[in-house]
Assembly symmetry: C2
Homo-oligomer: 452 residues x 2
């Protein structure tokens, strides 16, 4: 209640509870049947023993959808829990209602100011998600706020006894505000339908799926969490691959994929220019960056002879690396204008489709100070906009987190995707390439999020 | 000069330069030969054209060791560069001197207050390292400061024309203050000797090796970086495995390994108890944690029947997961004393050898506030000390980095290793188990660093 009102939800809200009394300026009604007019949506937090009575009240009011926070059903692995769920579904069918949950935190919609618990609410955007886990759903929302991954709609659906993954996938596939779809799944009651849905959805929009409970330990937890039964990880992987979905294996990989799909709505190509040592320390990092890119599926072709030669003239012969990865650290002795010229030269070289820039705030800050740091990032944003070649910044964490977070926010606001390691950036780009080279159908006209 | 003096280096320092003049209260001597008395160590930053003359001066003063910052040798891939290196080695042999570098940042020794560039200097400890890259060496030092990985000695040796990886490995293996050794290598001039050394060293102490330049792109950068020639990654991996060294593939994996080897000087065993949801959001995270542990080589056995039963009584039946991974989030409705009892129960269960606790500051803070957060981490430190079972905290980054960093520092100061994801923690523990089960010879009596 408090969260919805604080978030600025504009619809009418009616608190209902047997206690009666008031909640701020609102009267708590002793029964749902006493609400004046129509009820679109009911959010339930009563004990499970009252779930069936509540559904009777909902049916009497012709409610369309009911979301149950309430837990204690099939995830307890008891006969009683499973029976109760069955009865709820029957009541919903008879009353022409649809259920979200039980055992879940329900809907998230920034556009209509519907937050998650604790009032978590980000900007409205083009990524839709569904999650069987409320914790993972909440993490998607909070990481979204931090990394500028902006959502159209999201839903946590817990045990999914009525509306299931397939229903939410179909909804998001049809939703004109959703361009990319993320799913965290622990299991399904209808594998054949899910496979069929995944295929159709992935053909319409990029679909990134994280299957939790791949191992016995994970599956055991999934059973206690959302009552999901195990099935082999190989079956899931095969199904996702055949459906044309992008499979990811953890929260990092999932949010990395969402960020890159949101920002770059096409397959950029695999040939990467890798630039490191913006101030210093570019040698070993360039070696490591080359390994990380190639081991994660990118190519790192040598720069053209002409570019190499110009870089040598610009930066001097000693101490740099001018092949690719490129170490431009010698610019530190010649000033920012030289650094910018060098980066511009590398980006313009047609040997690459995409540019990966390693920026280490810990090293930059003592050499260029806060002002230089701002100039460098302003230049990168300007350059990416001007050149049109997809440009990504790798910004590892370190000992100056406040400044690093500021840089990250500035770059993200400037439409540059930011990753925390070269491995993660390369892996995300490769997912993008794989999806589009397999015939993903996103139209080029909708290739950038609307708000950018 | 400035760095050494600021760091508090206690030995005599003599600035030498053809310019003459003064540096603060010190006179700049126009020649090294004018230094009164013996010279132990020379740090060189002259242009490469003066390298040979300088070595003549060093020989005349009976200098023992010379470190060259100076770059522009074989890493330029020129005949001139290679020839100059050869002449330097010849002069060193004739003068009975040893060389570090060229093209490197040299020695790091917290105990004797010898910092890296920019005055980087951490606490003295038990981890020794060698690195062909100055950038990676500096990163090891700064990450060490942030993560309480404390070094005995470190060295960046660049092109390694005289003293090579094998020499530094032998030194660290014999050094009584070094218990764990880390190496970042790009190549070697003597593969047979290196292999032999690796074998001997890994038998004496845990040895963690990151080989840079595994791919063509990485190897190309390595050639320009330290003049290292490529060899197949499969050959390196095979060699490291046969030698009994732990191979890692990036900076994260390397520092994770150093932290766990420093803190837990034995193979703890593979059976993990995984505790999540200290406040909320423990469901999906428990599923994911189970997957991450098992996929990275740990076992996650179910808790004993007795522990499960006690947890059910303590936390109530609904909303928790009491198998393993364990979701204790229901304690949020019963207070911290209940949370601590639950964790204590799980840790005491003999089904596990090691405890992994997922702590999400972003979720904990709004529920328990700063005071609760401090109590929880105080309890974890106390518990780990009391129970003696290796206890590790997974502390993902999120939207409250200041508080997260405070928690990390508190836990590290309390001797609890902290990782940023379950995957990384599980992988590090497995490296530890593999090393000790293969017959690593560290004595149990030296199983904790001296300073703890």
């Amino acid at each position: 209640m408090e969260d919805l009102r604080t978030a600025g939800y504009q619809g009418a809200i009616y608190p209902v509870g047997t206690s009666g009394g008031r909640l701020g300026d609102l009267e708590i009604l002793p029964s749902l049947r006493l609400i004046p007019g129509e009820v679109d949506y009911v959010i339930v937090a009563v004990p499970r023993q009252s779930a069936l009575d509540l559904l009777d009240d909902c049916a009497a009011k012709n409610v369309k959808a009911v979301h149950f926070f309430t837990a204690g059903f099939s995830e307890m692995d008891t006969r009683q829990g499973r029976k109760l769920e069955q009865q709820m579904v029957e009541k919903a069918r008879r009353g022409n209602m649809r259920l979200i949950g039980p055992n879940c935190i329900g809907a998230y919609c920034p556009e209509h100011r519907i937050p998650f618990l604790m009032g978590i609410l980000g900007e409205s955007g083009s990524v839709g998600f569904l999650s069987q886990s409320g914790g993972i759903a909440t993490k998607l929302a909070t990481i979204g706020i931090a990394r500028h991954i902006n959502y159209s709609k999201g839903v946590s659906f817990g045990n999914g006894i009525d509306l299931d993954a397939s229903d939410f996938l179909q909804y998001l596939a049809a939703d004109p505000k959703t361009r990319v779809i993320a799913a965290y799944l622990e299991g399904t009651r209808d594998g054949a339908r899910l496979f069929d849905t995944l295929k159709k959805v992935a053909r319409a929009k990029p679909l990134v799926v994280w299957k939790g409970g791949r191992t016995e330990a994970g599956a055991q937890a999934a059973l206690s969490h959302t009552g999901s039964l195990a099935s082999s990880p190989a079956i899931w992987s095969g199904m996702l691959k055949q459906a044309g979905a992008i499979e990811v294996h953890d929260l990092e990989e999932l949010t990395d994929a969402l960020l890159i799909f949101q920002q770059i709505g096409r397959g950029p190509g695999t040939r990467a220019a890798v630039i490191g040592g913006l101030a210093d320390g570019g040698g070993g990092n360039s070696v490591a960056a080359g390994d990380a890119c190639v081991e994660n599926g990118l190519e790192v072709p040598p720069l053209s002879f002409e570019t190499k030669q110009k870089l040598g003239q610009l930066l001097g012969e000693v101490g740099g690396i001018f092949s690719n990865p490129v170490d431009v650290s010698q610019a530190q002795f010649r000033g920012l204008a030289t650094l910018f010229q060098a980066i511009d030269l590398i980006v313009r070289d047609t040997v690459s489709d995409i540019v990966l820039i390693q920026e280490d705030v810990e090293i930059l800050l003592p050499i260029y100070s806060q002002k230089g740091l701002e100039e460098i990032n302003g230049f990168l944003i300007e350059l990416a906009g001007r050149q049109g070649k997809p440009t990504i910044v790798v910004l590892p964490s370190g000992s100056v987190e406040t400044e690093r977070l500021q840089v990250e926010q500035k770059l993200l606001a400037g439409s540059i995707p930011v990753f925390y390691s070269m491995e993660r950036a390369a892996r995300a780009i490769c997912g993008l390439n794989r999806y589009y080279s397999a015939g993903g159908r996103m139209k080029p006209s909708s290739s950038r999020p609307a708000q950018m």
